[in-house]
Symmetry: C3
Amino acid sequence: MPGPPCGSLLDYKTAKFSVTRNRRVGLLHRLLQLSALGYLLGWVLLLRKGYQERDTAPRVAVVTKVKGAAVAEAAGRRLWDAADLTWPPQGENVLFLVTHFIATVQQAQGTCPESPSVLDGMCAEDADCPMGNPVVHGIKTGKCLMFNATHSTCEIYGWCPVENSTLPRKPLLAEAENFTLFIKNTVHFTKFNFSKCNTLQTSDPNYFKSCTYDPVFNPSCPVFRVRDMVEAAGQNFADLALLGGSIRVLIEWNCDLDHPATQCQPQYSFSLQDMRYNFRTASYYWGSQRQLYRNLLKLYGIRFDLSVHGQAGKFSIIPTAVSCGTSIAFFGAATMVCDLVLLYLDAKADLYWKEKFEEVRRGPHGREEVLK
Amino acid sequence: MPGPPCGSLLDYKTAKFSVTRNRRVGLLHRLLQLSALGYLLGWVLLLRKGYQERDTAPRVAVVTKVKGAAVAEAAGRRLWDAADLTWPPQGENVLFLVTHFIATVQQAQGTCPESPSVLDGMCAEDADCPMGNPVVHGIKTGKCLMFNATHSTCEIYGWCPVENSTLPRKPLLAEAENFTLFIKNTVHFTKFNFSKCNTLQTSDPNYFKSCTYDPVFNPSCPVFRVRDMVEAAGQNFADLALLGGSIRVLIEWNCDLDHPATQCQPQYSFSLQDMRYNFRTASYYWGSQRQLYRNLLKLYGIRFDLSVHGQAGKFSIIPTAVSCGTSIAFFGAATMVCDLVLLYLDAKADLYWKEKFEEVRRGPHGREEVLK
Amino acid sequence: MPGPPCGSLLDYKTAKFSVTRNRRVGLLHRLLQLSALGYLLGWVLLLRKGYQERDTAPRVAVVTKVKGAAVAEAAGRRLWDAADLTWPPQGENVLFLVTHFIATVQQAQGTCPESPSVLDGMCAEDADCPMGNPVVHGIKTGKCLMFNATHSTCEIYGWCPVENSTLPRKPLLAEAENFTLFIKNTVHFTKFNFSKCNTLQTSDPNYFKSCTYDPVFNPSCPVFRVRDMVEAAGQNFADLALLGGSIRVLIEWNCDLDHPATQCQPQYSFSLQDMRYNFRTASYYWGSQRQLYRNLLKLYGIRFDLSVHGQAGKFSIIPTAVSCGTSIAFFGAATMVCDLVLLYLDAKADLYWKEKFEEVRRGPHGREEVLK
């Protein structure tokens, strides 16, 4: 090292300060330092838990199972069980429970009048039905037919007869409200190698066969009655069952792993995602004269979208260091602000300026010297 | 406090500085400070929007619906509608539209010659077909049979007859290009409790029944023509329809919530994920002699993988503080660099060294005193 | 600027320090500085790669295909291929392979005795079966019937006959262990515009038709034997096949894009997620007298949950700056700690205090002056 006359690596150099009896700036400085300390302790460490390492992307697994049976009075007395009403049959993140349907049985390829509910299909004479034009249920053949006593519609080529689009006023499967949905959910926080399942908190193996979830009295039972879920989403089951709907089931795991693992429990919440939900599905079969038929079902029902979110935190030295590090910067900023006030705004800024900045001036010998 | 003679909590202590008239180091210092300021203002605040809290993991919901009808000329004139051609019937994140298929009807368990397209199944004599060996479509029975005039293949036990693997040159359902895909998509940014749907920007309820997406003229209509999507992914529909393919539909929400919510609009983009996509599905039925039959379908088509990404930002005091805090560290670094230049590289480093570091030396009385 | 007498923007101001020959504090200071440097170089830059920008949310696409054939000896000799045994037929993130099943064929709506395995359905007399009460397979009609020589059960209205819940001891489709699962997986790191697929590392087009994954000898072949996967998850195939189970297939991409792209390879790992997995599915058909029948299948099998995780890092100037910036704060903290030791704990704190803090006092003229 060129400079120091008797330099040594182990000399300790401490910054020199000027002490001023300026109470206002002193007070300001202490206040700013207190704010920085309050920010560090209150916000960063207590509220944001800045001393914890966080894992916000747990690996989750969901298995669901629907149970129940409902009697529909539609086409003769009929009993439907969960295998009839849920779709897809395997329980995954999205689950559909049929509450209502329009069945159009034994459709075959051929010609028939379009449904009068299709605006483009209405006609008064053949000229209204240009041949080859596509319409909702098929392709126009060029003829105008009587659909019923009051309506005439274009003849189409397609799956015939066409679907009847008038929906009965009452959901056919209103009893689906008593079906239950069992949600088995596992989270795994890889950063902490911590796993938890929402079904392993009891020693009684039959508990999950008999319990029903209740937010107050039974918050750890993962068996949900369909009606309760719909109502928790602020809807009326009968209304939703008629035209279908989509409900989000949100499972949230908020775990502080510095506390005992038993406190790491999921929170369930339900919200309406969409009114009106339906889709069509068809099954095919061959008739006696080797003609292909299909049964078309327009299914209305409640779609449950399950989503699992989770975060876990655990004390770790690195985030603690980073949180403290960034807060230290604010202590520096406090000093900077006070210096600015002292040097530019104070009445005696002149004096403080001289005291703070000792000048090194060029002396008579053409080199800088300390100005005293 | 032991040390200070007349210490008071409200005294303000300001660091003492030596002022040097060293223009080069002064210039360097100002330049470094300007860079740090430029970094803070330009990059951190303007470009990266460091003053905003961000939510990059919105909760999304997607519902899709396919509409259209196509005429296939394969087995007699046949009209196919969306219920025939889409799979799974419910609209979710992944959607498959059939464009081509190989149907193998009325397969039953039995023995028949293996397909000549299977290399392991070719034979010249019975010895080429060791009994019990598995091959693609079943298990060899030990015989070698004439498949047709030119090929001999091993007899197998399995579902017979085996699937014919030669594919017609023309996609059977080429008209599927005019099908439309309606994508209803909702995002919810939980941090800001802000939700938006891509279908609620109009007051006309029939708008979504008649519009078609166009990146320039109609960017907010969520009804996409299949052919347009394939072309936006840089592919030719006819080519893709023949052997199938997989297309990623990316919906991106980039919302600056400091601006009006109407500016928060999704961007759609399409890209080819994979050429060649097919799968087999079978349906089963019992024949007259209580024998089980199946119809095997090898379906080629376009698989649409929908993925929704989003991020939103909103002004918040904490990220602003952190952004400024980290930038302040760079001001400190600027001073450090200049000190190093001054003390080690400058010609008059000696003088600056003495001036900067005032020494406390052990005096004659065995204790440290200020060296003057 | 009001204060400085001959202030100039280009004067360089350097902080004044007092040099003390206090070896203990000096040593402490150097040690703390070395720790901060070690933290910066060792942890932040080397281990955590703090100089890299990271992308932890790649866009992934997964396509799977199952191949194989199995002979079941259940109802006559029967051969099952992949189209019979996998569900859903399209390969996606979740895949189910049937290993065992209970088939209840030709169920029709009617009355029949409940299964004796249902506790609520056991009875001794009609009074044990209150009419209208729901039980697992239907609704009680009020009669008590002989089910077999040893058991009496309530008569129910529902799908009859009811499912037989005793499971054969041997999985019917034990040969499914030799099925193979082909996993095609693409990751795209949007931040770096970097894509990679796990199947494009060879020039031989038939490689993937013949290879089988092995963690040691063949780690880059994405064709997995079902039995190998089950064993890698620590399970016995025969046990899992009997009652079903769920296995997580984890594909991890850990890419350092500062290295050549060929080193960016996926890691596969397998773990048991759940024992016992089954679901029911039904298919419907009309009989000769236009009565609806269904075939109910209770399917046991192995569910594979594929999940892809990935992260990539690449050198970037911003994270480097931030990493260094936060570390600089620790250098400041080192000085702070040493100052506290020097001023409050050292035997000669008094002297250091005076030296460090030069006081500005109110002089006789009512204004602050430097106290010398």
